[in-house]
């Protein structure tokens, strides 16, 4: 059934006579960013589970995004031309490859959601013209605050607009808080760098996490039912939710070594699910916003998130907020109004 559906979608995606919005062959699988009737009905997805990107003309052009993550397939054909610099925060080299970890795919998956090119190869990233600076930080083990600071320092020196962080520690030191506050106020010529953090996937409150800081945009996950995914961590500092999937993953790029294919499909049993996937969706949406309004300050962007998100779910929003959904779910069309 899945194979038949996939082949149908592939054929539809390749057929320009159907007036589909993009020639990307896997676009129909990208349920998180747009509605496709066939795919939505096949997987019983709530019609509003996506982030409403239809008709949006912005592509992230001129916006610099630092992605801090475990490693990257830098020659992936979906985004190799977007990568303008790489650095390994542990040793200062430009080697951001990853081996010997189950999480090696992670940075490549994050990058594809943001920047996969409109090139007829596979996917459409949400901000396919954004410039990417990839900063390798060892995740999944133990790391010193000095390595985290080095990663932030490099992003700041590269004059980035947004930093994508699909990781966290649940234990933020004062030195890290101060660095984040510094970047969020002094960076981007005083307008403030946008730091976006994933809240994590344990279904618990995380009061001492990076994602809960005031100067940070903390991101939780929503599922195919257009409700908070039950695994999504929460707290009073959460700002927004975006699709992270539950049974279906977020279709994106995959690290191609060790016999892996170039893509992680929505239906894959080991697909890309979690707040790690939600975070680059928000990052890319903010890149579109900054492309449209480059003078927006970090505080103005946060205000826009408060005012222009969808108040989904059955939990009451008090003064527009609740700890499970933040200020609501990402709606790109509304964000860019």
């Amino acid at each position: 059934m899945r194979l038949v559906l996939f082949c149908c979608l592939l054929l539809l995606g390749c057929n320009k006579k159907n007036n589909l919005p993009t020639p990307e062959p896997l676009y129909q699988e990208q349920w998180a960013i747009h509605y496709n009737k066939l795919f939505y009905e096949a997987y019983n997805i709530d019609p509003n589970a996506h982030i409403h990107t239809e008709g949006v003309a912005y592509t992230g052009r001129g916006i610099k995004i630092a992605i801090i993550d475990i490693g990257l397939d830098i020659n992936h054909p979906e985004f190799k031309d977007n990568i303008i610099d790489t650095i390994n925060s542990a040793d200062g080299s430009d080697d951001v490859s990853c081996q010997h970890s189950e999480d090696c795919y992670h940075g490549t998956a994050v990058t594809g959601i943001i920047a996969a090119n409109i090139n007829g190869y596979g996917l459409r990233g949400i901000a396919p013209n954004a410039q990417i600076i990839f900063i390798k930080l060892d995740l999944g083990g133990y790391t010193g605050d000095d390595e985290i600071l080095a990663a932030f320092d490099y992003a700041e020196k590269m004059d980035v607009d947004i930093i994508s962080n699909s990781w966290g520690t649940e234990h933020v030191s004062p030195v890290i808080i101060e660095k984040i506050n510094h970047m969020a106020t002094k960076g981007r010529d005083g307008k403030g760098i946008l730091l976006v953090f994933a809240s994590g996937n344990e279904g618990k409150e995380v009061p001492d996490d990076e994602s809960m800081l005031e100067a940070v945009i903390g991101v939780g996950a929503s599922g195919e039912d257009n409700l908070r995914a039950i695994y999504s961590n929460f707290g009073t500092g959460l700002d927004i939710v975006a699709p992270g999937g539950y049974k279906l993953g977020i279709t994106t790029t995959n690290q191609r070594d060790n016999g892996n294919g170039a893509f992680l499909m929505a239906e894959d049993s080991d697909g890309f699910i979690g707040t790690s996937a939600s975070t680059p969706i928000v990052v890319a949406a903010l890149a579109l916003l900054l492309e449209k309004n480059p003078q927006l300050t970090r505080q103005q962007v946060q205000q826009r998130i408060k005012d222009r998100t969808d108040k989904i779910g059955n939990i009451e929003y008090i003064e527009g907020h609740n700890p499970y959904y933040g200020y609501g779910k990402l709606n790109v069309s509304r964000l860019l109004e």
């Binding site: 600071l149 320092d153 699909s166 520690t169 996937n201």
Partner: protein, 116 residues
């Protein structure tokens, strides 16, 4: 794991105190074994042999006064330093933190970090 252990300071018995002071505020840091502490939030952390000093000017005075080696300076006048001699690291950090010339001093915690 080897990297984790390798980064940790070989702490002398004098540093086994359960309490550490930061900006005059008491912070619980309970020693679990040679390499690991339990902090007041219940997180297991390690402490690197380097630490941080926040200082806008006259850094050299502090470096000389406490026999420190400057390792790296970050953009917001935060400096990573190391002691040139074997010492009770937490006690030294506490002492520098209380020095009127510095804004603060703080350990370089080694902690769990997770992809999400």
């Amino acid at each position: 794991m080897l990297r984790f252990i390798g980064c940790l300071l070989l702490i002398t018995p004098a540093t086994l105190a359960d309490i550490y002071f930061f900006k005059g505020q008491e912070i619980s840091l309970q020693k679990l074994d040679q390499d690991r502490y339990l902090n007041d939030k219940g997180n297991v952390v390690g402490i690197s042999d380097s630490f941080f000093i926040k200082q806008d000017k006259e850094l050299s005075v502090i470096l000389d006064r406490y026999n420190l080696h400057l390792v790296k300076t970050y953009s917001n006048n935060l400096h990573k330093v190391q002691s040139k001699s074997k010492t009770d690291l937490l006690a030294l950090i506490e002492k520098i933190d209380a020095d009127p010339l510095t804004q603060y001093a703080y350990p370089n915690f080694i902690k769990k970090i997770q992809a999400r």
